[in-house]
C-alpha cells in the first residue's frame, strides 16, 4: 500500500501539512477540522462527532456516501456500531462488517488511508475488501489509537465519475491523523459512559438493595432496589439525590429500622464482612424480612467507597418456608395419625377381645343375681366402665378410620341428656360452679341417622370447649330444635334444603378472633395454652363427625362476648331402636358353633348363649370348624373374622358354604366392617356383629337369622 512514494508514514503526514498551505481546498479542510475540534472538544458526543465527520468528509471530497464501523465499547466481543451517510446508510453488507483481529493486525502495520484496490491483506481481509469493492467504497481509513483499532471509515466514489487523486488521499490521511486524538478521547468518554451505564444497569438489576458508603459514613451509591426498599418503609424520602451523602444512621432511620444502623456500625467496626439475618420491619401491618450483609471494600478508588451494605428481601422466601414448614408439620401429623390409626386398629382388636368378658359377664351375672342384691350397683359400674372403655377404642378407630360408623336412628336430645348426666360433666360443673348450664331441648326434635357414641363425643367436645372459654364463669346454653332450612345464616357452610335436628352450644366466654375462625377445625390448631386441656383434636373430631353425618355447622363469635356453635343434622323418618327387647326374643334351643381363636371369647359366647337355652360348641380356628361341620350339623355358626392369617374368617366361610351351602353364619369382629367382611356379606348376606357384644345383641341376631326361613343369597 502506498509504496510508490517511498516516504515513511510520518514523513508523509508532515509533507501533507506543508502542501495544505498552498491549497485553497486544503484550507477549507483545515477549517473544517478546526471547527470539528472546537465543537467536540468540550462536548464529546462520540456518535454525533462521527456523523459530523462523515458529512464533512463527504463535502470535502465531493462524495455522496461515507460510512464508519466502530467498535462498541464495553463489550469484549466484536460488536460494532454502524454510522453512514448517503446510500451507504442503507447497506446491510457494510453494516455487518466485522472488525476482525486480522484486520486489526493489518491496520496496526498499515495505519494510513488507502484505495480499496491497494488494500491487500491475508485471510478475512480478502473478503473484507470484496465487500467494500461490491459496495463501491473507494477509500478506507482505520481509526487507530495506541495500536488499537477503534473502527474503520470508508468513503464512496466521487461525484460525476471523478477519481480520487493521490493528493486527495494524502489530505484524507492527514485529516484523519489530525482528528484521531479528538476521536480517541471522545471514544474513551463514550466507552466510559457506556461502561458506567452498563455497571449501573447491572447494579440496578441485582435482586438485593445495594448501598455504598464512603469512609465518612456517607451514602455514595444506591441501586434501584435499595431505593425501593427504603421508600417502602420511609415514603418521606423525596428522591434518590436527596439520599446521597446521608449518613448510615440517616439512611436506616432508627424510628423505622430500629437498631439496624447501630448493629451495622458495630459489625463494620469489628469485622471486614458479616451478615445479620432475618431482620424484620412491620410497615402498614405487613411484616417484611431482610437478610443484611455488609462488607468493607478496597477504598483505593477516587470515590473512596469504604463499605457496602446489601439488603436481601427474604419476606416471600420466609413466608414460603413458613408455609412449607406448616405443610410439613401437617404431613407429619397426618402420618402420625395414620400410624396411630394402624396402631389403634391393632390394639382395638386385642382390647376388644379382652373387654369381651367385662362387657358380657355383668349381664349374665345380673341375670343370676336377685333383684335386691347389694352388689348389683357394683356390677352395673363394671358394665358401664367396660362400655366406656369400648367407646374409647371406638374413638381411636374414629380417628383412624373416619366415616365407618354404624349408623342408626338417634335422638339428639338423648345424646345430650346422656352427656349432661355423665359423671365427667357433673364433676366439671362442680369444679366450675360459676358457670350456669342451661339445657333447652325441643321435644319435637326429629331423629337423625347417626352414631350415638360419636354424637356423644361431639356434644362433649363442644361443652368442654365452652367451659374452657369461660375461665371467669358465665352461662352455657345447650339448645336443640327442629328446623326446616334452606341456607345457613352464618354462611360457613352450604346446606341442602330440608328438615334438620339443630344443636346450639352457646357460651358467654372470651370469643374467637375472626382470623382464627376458619382454622379452628384444623387438627392441633388451638388458642388454648398447651396442656391446659384437650388433645388438640376436639374440634377436628367434631368437624369429621358432623361431616360424616352429612351435617353442617355455623359459628358465631365475638371477642369478649362469646361463641355459638350451631350444628345441623339431616332428619330421618326412622324410629329409634327400642332400648330393651323382651327376653323371649333371644331365647332358643338350636345348636350353635362358635369359631374364635381367643379362649375368653369362646368362653363368654358359650356362657351367654347357653344361658338362654342354646346348645353351644366352640372351636378355636377355621380348620377345626370345617372338620366339625363335616361330621356334625349346626343350626348357626358364630364366625370370628380375625383368626389365623392363612385361614381367616373369609377363608373359613368359603369352605363352610362349599360344605354346607345353606349354612347360616353370623360374622363377628373387633374391627369395623373390613373389605374381607364385606366379601363374606356379598357371598352370603351374613349379619355382622361388632365385638365386644352383649347377650342382647348377639342373641337377637341369632334369633333373627334362625327365624328367617328363607335365607336370601345363600348359595345353592
Amino acid at each position: 500500500m502506498m509504496s510508490n512514494s517511498g516516504f515513511s508514514h510520518k514523513d508523509r503526514v508532515a509533507t501533507s501539512y506543508y502542501k495544505w498551505l498552498s491549497d485553497e481546498k486544503s484550507l477549507l479542510a483545515l477549517d473544517a477540522l478546526a471547527k470539528l475540534n472546537t465543537q467536540f472538544a468540550n462536548r464529546p458526543e462520540f456518535q454525533l462527532l462521527i456523523k459530523t465527520l462523515l458529512l464533512t468528509l463527504a463535502g470535502q471530497f465531493s462524495i455522496t456516501s461515507a460510512f464508519a464501523v466502530l467498535r462498541q465499547p464495553g463489550y469484549s466481543d466484536n460488536k460494532t456500531v454502524f454510522l453512514a451517510t448517503g446510500r451507504f446508510a442503507k447497506s446491510r453488507q457494510l453494516e455487518s462488517l466485522p472488525l476482525t483481529p486480522d484486520l486489526e493486525r493489518y491496520f496496526v502495520e498499515y495505519r494510513a488511508a488507502a484505495r480499496i484496490t491497494d488494500v491487500n491483506c491475508p485471510h478475512s481481509c480478502k473478503s473484507y475488501r470484496g465487500i467494500l469493492h461490491d459496495c463501491k467504497v473507494a477509500i478506507v481509513c482505520p481509526l487507530m489509537h495506541n495500536d488499537k483499532l477503534l473502527g474503520i471509515i470508508g468513503l464512496g466514489e466521487k461525484v460525476a465519475g471523478k477519481n480520487f487523486q493521490d493528493k486527495d488521499i494524502e489530505l484524507f490521511n492527514s485529516l484523519m491523523q489530525s482528528i484521531v486524538p479528538l476521536i480517541a478521547s471522545s471514544y474513551h468518554f463514550w466507552e466510559m459512559a457506556s461502561l458506567s451505564a452498563w455497571h449501573l444497569d447491572i447494579l440496578n438489576h441485582v435482586k438485593q438493595g445495594v448501598f455504598a458508603f464512603a469512609y465518612d459514613n456517607r451514602l455514595k451509591k444506591i441501586n434501584t432496589v435499595g431505593i425501593n426498599i427504603i421508600r417502602r418503609h420511609n415514603p418521606d424520602i423525596p428522591d434518590v439525590v436527596s439520599m446521597y451523602n446521608l449518613s448510615l444512621e440517616e439512611v436506616f432511620d432508627e424510628k423505622i429500622f430500629n437498631d439496624w444502623a447501630k448493629r451495622l456500625a458495630k459489625g463494620i467496626a469489628e469485622h471486614d464482612s458479616g451478615s445479620i439475618e432475618g431482620l424484620v420491619i412491620k410497615t402498614d401491618g405487613v411484616e417484611y424480612a431482610y437478610d443484611v450483609y455488609f462488607c468493607k471494600i478496597s477504598g483505593d478508588t477516587e470515590f473512596q467507597a469504604d463499605f457496602i451494605v446489601t439488603l436481601d428481601d427474604v419476606t416471600e422466601r420466609r413466608r414460603a418456608e413458613k408455609q412449607r414448614r406448616l405443610l410439613q408439620e401437617k404431613l407429619e401429623q397426618a402420618e402420625k395419625m395414620e400410624a396411630l390409626g394402624v396402631l389403634a386398629g391393632g390394639v382395638a382388636h386385642d382390647l376388644n377381645n379382652m373387654l369381651g368378658p367385662l362387657v358380657g359377664y355383668p349381664e349374665l351375672i345380673l341375670r343370676k343375681l336377685p333383684e335386691d342384691s347389694p352388689v348389683r350397683g357394683q356390677v352395673n359400674k363394671i358394665a358401664d366402665s367396660a362400655r366406656n372403655a369400648s367407646n374409647v377404642i371406638q374413638d381411636l378407630l374414629t380417628l383412624a378410620r373416619r366415616g365407618r360408623y354404624e349408623m342408626e336412628p338417634v335422638n339428639l336430645n338423648k345424646v345430650i341428656a346422656d352427656y349432661l348426666e355423665s359423671p365427667a360433666h357433673i364433676q366439671r360443673s362442680k369444679d366450675k360452679p360459676d358457670i350456669l348450664v342451661e339445657y333447652n331441648p325441643d321435644e319435637n326434635i326429629c331423629n337423625i341417622n347417626g352414631s350415638f357414641p360419636h354424637l356423644y363425643k361431639v356434644v362433649m367436645n363442644l361443652i368442654v370447649n365452652a367451659f374452657d372459654a369461660m375461665p371467669e364463669g358465665g352461662k352455657l346454653a345447650v339448645i336443640t330444635s327442629r328446623e326446616y332450612l334452606k341456607k345457613l345464616s352464618g354462611g360457613y357452610d352450604k346446606i341442602e334444603e330440608g328438615n334438620y335436628a339443630v344443636l346450639r352450644v352457646r357460651d358467654t366466654g372470651i370469643g374467637i378472633e375472626q382470623k382464627d375462625l376458619e382454622r379452628i377445625f384444623e387438627p392441633y390448631f388451638s388458642r388454648k395454652k398447651m396442656g391446659s386441656s384437650g388433645s388438640g383434636l376436639g374440634l377436628s373430631v367434631v368437624y369429621g363427625i358432623v361431616k360424616d353425618h352429612k351435617g353442617y355447622y355455623d359459628i358465631f363469635s365475638e371477642i369478649g362476648k362469646g361463641t355459638e356453635f350451631v350444628l345441623y343434622f339431616p332428619a330421618t323418618d326412622l324410629l329409634e331402636k327400642a332400648a330393651y327387647e323382651s327376653e323371649d326374643t333371644f331365647c332358643g334351643t338350636e345348636s350353635i358353633l362358635v369359631v374364635d381363636d381367643i379362649i375368653e371369647q369362646r368362653e363368654i359366647a358359650y356362657d351367654m348363649l347357653s344361658s338362654v337355652g342354646y346348645k353351644v360348641v366352640c372351636v378355636e380356628n377355621g380348620r377345626k370348624a370345617i372338620e366339625y361341620l363335616s361330621k356334625n350339623p349346626a343350626d348357626i355358626v358364630i364366625l370370628d373374622m380375625i383368626m389365623e392369617k392363612d385361614f381367616d374368617g373369609l377363608d373359613t366361610y368359603r369352605e363352610i358354604i362349599r360344605l354346607r351351602p345353606a349354612q347360616k353364619v353370623i360374622v363377628v369382629s373387633g374391627f369395623s366392617a373390613t373389605e374381607r367382611v364385606q366379601e363374606i356379606q356379598k357371598l352370603g348376606g351374613c349379619p355382622f356383629i361388632k365385638k365386644p357384644f352383649t347377650l342382647q345383641i348377639i342373641a337377637k341376631a341369632i334369633r333373627t337369622a334362625l327365624d328367617n326361613k328363607d335365607p336370601i343369597d345363600q348359595p345353592a
Binding site: L28, A29, L54, L55, G59, T64, A66, G86
Partner: protein
C-alpha cells in the same frame, strides 16, 4: 451562539423550498439531513434550496446536500440550489461541485424547472 435556523415551505405535492439561514455547518448539518430526509420520505421529489440568507457553508454543510441528493435524483427529482451568494459559490467551485449540482439564479427559476408556480 445563535442557533442556526432552517425553514421549510411547501410549494405543491412535489416541490418544497428549504432555506438555510446564516450558516450551514457542523452545527446544523445534521438538522439539514433530517429535514431533507423527512421531506423525501413525505414524497416530495424536488427540493429547492434557497441560499439567499446563507453566509457560511462548511464541508459538513455541503456533505448534508451531497448525502441526500441521490435519493431525490433516484426518483426523478433533485435538490436545486438557488440564490447562491458569491462566497458560497466559491466554496462549491473549490469542491468542484458546480457541474454536479443543479444551480439556478433565483427561486422562481428553480421552481420553474419543476413546472410548478409559487
Amino acid at each position: 451562539m445563535d442557533k442556526p435556523n432552517i425553514t421549510k415551505t411547501v410549494i405543491n405535492d412535489d416541490v418544497v423550498i428549504i432555506k438555510p439561514i446564516k450558516t450551514l455547518d457542523n452545527n446544523n448539518a445534521h438538522e439539514m439531513v433530517n429535514i431533507i430526509t423527512g421531506v423525501q420520505e413525505d414524497g416530495y421529489k424536488t427540493i429547492v434550496m434557497d441560499m439567499t440568507d446563507l453566509e457560511f457553508l462548511s464541508s459538513a454543510g455541503v456533505g448534508s446536500i451531497l448525502g441526500t441528493i441521490e435519493t431525490s435524483r433516484e426518483v426523478g427529482g433533485d435538490i436545486i440550489l438557488c440564490n447562491v451568494p458569491e462566497s458560497i459559490n466559491h466554496i462549491l467551485d473549490i469542491l468542484d461541485l458546480i457541474d454536479y449540482l443543479t444551480i439556478r439564479e433565483n427561486k422562481e427559476k428553480a421552481i420553474a424547472m419543476t413546472g410548478a408556480r409559487i
